[in-house]
């Protein structure tokens, strides 16, 4: 029994297919092509071989950006893998008012990176809330340069990213926790296993798959960071220009009246290969898991 004419599927998919071709497939190919040219926004350009990649390799800003990305990942991955899990456990039980708490914990996710970065920028100001609190409580006697020191600025952006990400990953864990077997928990509790022991021996193995997926997501997102650093440190990356991310360099290269689209594309291709590393790791792990079982 035929349920439709042969052209119906294609007709219905037409909008999505146009967008797939125009804004996904073509830009992917074109980014690679552009990266081998010296195309500028207004003046055009021509093929220049690997020159952009040679420039990229010797660009000190790229080194700073890669170093910053690594620091971002090393701190964000463990924190955002475990804290949201604890948070999900906290809001898992349906006690009175829990919907309110869940919604409020999700607020930082809903807010744009620009608004929350502006909020944090005011708190981290030389004369802002944090400095005033630290000084009145006597922890420090001098102003802490959260926004002007090369490393403190990076750490501030990381703290902001962790704070903003908590609710997002909490939500991912919430659905995973539904599949953790309660009878195991009960049996372990009867056998005298405490909360901490049950967390490590039952909850964590129960959400292992989600946990791996989430840590890969965090790593990829750490490589894509832009707005947080751009707002906290300014467009050029802090006082010394060292607090840049890879995406900030893409934006810097491409903006201005005659943006260097070719060079910006080379940085984009480099970014793609970086983000592919955690994804490859994920597929490897999945394959191994399938072979085991």
């Amino acid at each position: 029994m035929r349920s439709h004419r042969f052209y119906t599927p294609w007709l219905l998919m037409l909008p999505a297919l146009v967008w797939l071709a125009l804004f996904s497939v073509w830009p992917a190919i074109n980014t690679i092509t552009l990266s081998f040219t010296n195309v500028h926004q207004l003046t055009g350009g021509h093929y220049i071989g690997f020159k952009n990649y040679w420039l990229l390799w010797h660009d000190p800003h790229i080194r700073d950006a890669v170093l910053n990305t690594i620091v971002f990942m090393v701190i964000c991955v463990p924190l955002l893998t475990f804290l949201p899990l604890l948070l999900a456990l906290l809001v898992q039980r349906n006690i009175r008012g829990i919907a309110f708490f869940r919604t409020a914990f999700y607020f930082p996710v809903i807010a744009s990176a620009v608004t929350v970065a502006l909020i944090w920028k005011w708190m981290l100001d030389d004369r802002g809330l944090f400095n005033n609190l630290l000084q009145t409580m006597g922890f420090v006697h001098k102003t802490v340069p959260f926004l002007t020191d090369r490393w403190l600025l990076l750490l501030s952006a990381i703290a902001l990213t962790v704070w903003k990400g908590l609710g997002y990953y909490m939500l991912l864990y919430m659905s995973a926790l539904g599949s953790v077997r309660r009878d195991l928990h009960e049996a372990a509790a009867v056998d005298g296993a405490g909360t901490v022991r049950r967390f490590w021996s039952i909850t964590v193995p129960g959400v292992r798959g989600t946990m791996i997926l989430i840590s890969v997501l965090i790593a990829v997102n750490a490589m894509r960071v832009f707005s947080e650093l751009y707002i906290l440190g300014g467009a050029t990356g802090g006082v010394g220009g060292q607090d840049v991310s890879i995406v900030m360099l893409v934006q810097q290269a491409a903006s201005g009246s005659d943006g260097r689209l070719g060079y910006a594309s080379a940085i984009s291709v480099f970014l793609f290969f970086l983000t592919a590393i955690p994804l490859l790791f994920l597929t490897r792990l999945n394959k191994n898991n399938q072979e085991e079982s």
Partner: protein, 310 residues
């Protein structure tokens, strides 16, 4: 130590007696009343932890709100921290209006958001339905292409999209900001997964009754994917309202900016007063939080139905 153990076991015994039988017959949701019964001080610590996390997550926003309501006469830099404004005033919000065309920016952001929601709802529903329910040549291959695009972070192709939008003559226009994200491939796949869950038999019955593809999608498919569809709409709206990098690249003239880009210029370039910047921030933040509060029931319900972006 011994006292607590004794007390624990006594209480345990009491509860066990009260709930006899329940251990072997957990309720509908698979929970046994004994294991899940909260103890009074367990509950106390749970609420304590919830309140601490609440302060961490919305505290900064409340501080910004408070700053935005402080008058010029009040010292916002003082070490003698004032949590609440002495004489709350909306003056700073007026100051934002005098500094930047904030309502115009908000209207631009709203336009982008509405166009993105409409495009994604229509485009993703149609394509998702076809990929899930119709048989045709090349379906597997096409699905593979859709999935493959997921490994491409948006930032990687942004330069090429920028070049394309400019060459189409849409640089520095709101339409140019909307266009690339009007149909997101993730949403097509989410809708496909949602439509997959529908049992085959229901649809076959509709085919026998002579329903055509569009009727089947509208009356058989759509009612069962409402949850996922609402999550997609909410995400599309928030995504467009919050987006920064793309409109920052595309838009140049100050009268065409979206709210996020306008705010980034307000900060430092057009104003140095933290009260004004705080007021501007609140004008971008409060509408989106209010919208989420109104829709949060549909959002969490849809998420529970499996609509999660990965």
């Amino acid at each position: 130590m011994t006292a607590t153990t004794a007390e624990d076991s006594r209480e345990g015994r009491k509860r066990r007696v009260r709930g006899t039988g329940a251990v072997r017959h957990p309720d509908r949701k698979g929970r046994s009343p004994i294991f899940d019964a909260p103890t009074p001080h367990g509950l106390f610590f749970r609420y304590l932890a919830l309140i601490i996390v609440l302060l961490i997550s919305i505290g900064p926003m409340l501080w910004e709100l408070s700053t935005s309501l402080k008058s010029k006469a009040e010292d916002v830099y003082t070490q003698n921290i004032q949590l609440l404004p002495h004489h709350p005033t909306l003056g700073n919000y007026g100051e934002v209006q005098n500094t930047i065309p904030v309502w115009h920016f908000a209207l631009n952001s709203l336009t982008v958001a509405v166009i993105n929601v409409t495009g994604n709802v229509i485009g993703a529903t149609l394509a998702g339905y076809v990929l899930a329910r119709l048989k045709f040549k090349g379906r597997k291959l096409l699905l593979g292409v859709f999935v493959a695009t997921l490994i491409l972070p948006a930032e990687v192709t942004i330069i090429s999209k920028f070049q394309m939008i400019t060459s189409m003559g849409l640089g520095n226009s709101i339409l140019g900001v909307c266009l690339p994200d009007m149909i997101a491939m993730t949403n097509v796949l989410l809708m496909r997964n949602a439509f997959m869950a529908l049992p085959r038999e229901v649809e076959e019955a509709a085919i026998i009754d002579g329903a055509n593809v569009l009727q089947r999608m509208r009356y058989v498919g759509l009612p069962s994917v409402k949850g996922v569809l609402s999550v997609i709409s909410i995400f599309a709206f928030i995504g467009a309202w919050d987006d920064f990098l793309w409109p920052l690249l595309v838009l140049q003239s100050p009268d065409k900016l979206t709210l996020t880009v306008g705010l980034s210029y307000l900060n430092g370039q057009w104003s140095h007063d933290p009260r004004t910047i705080a007021a501007g921030t609140m004008m971008a933040l409060l509408p989106i939080l209010a919208l989420f509060l109104i829709l949060q029931r549909y959002f969490f319900r849809g998420v529970a139905q499996g609509a999660i972006k990965g």
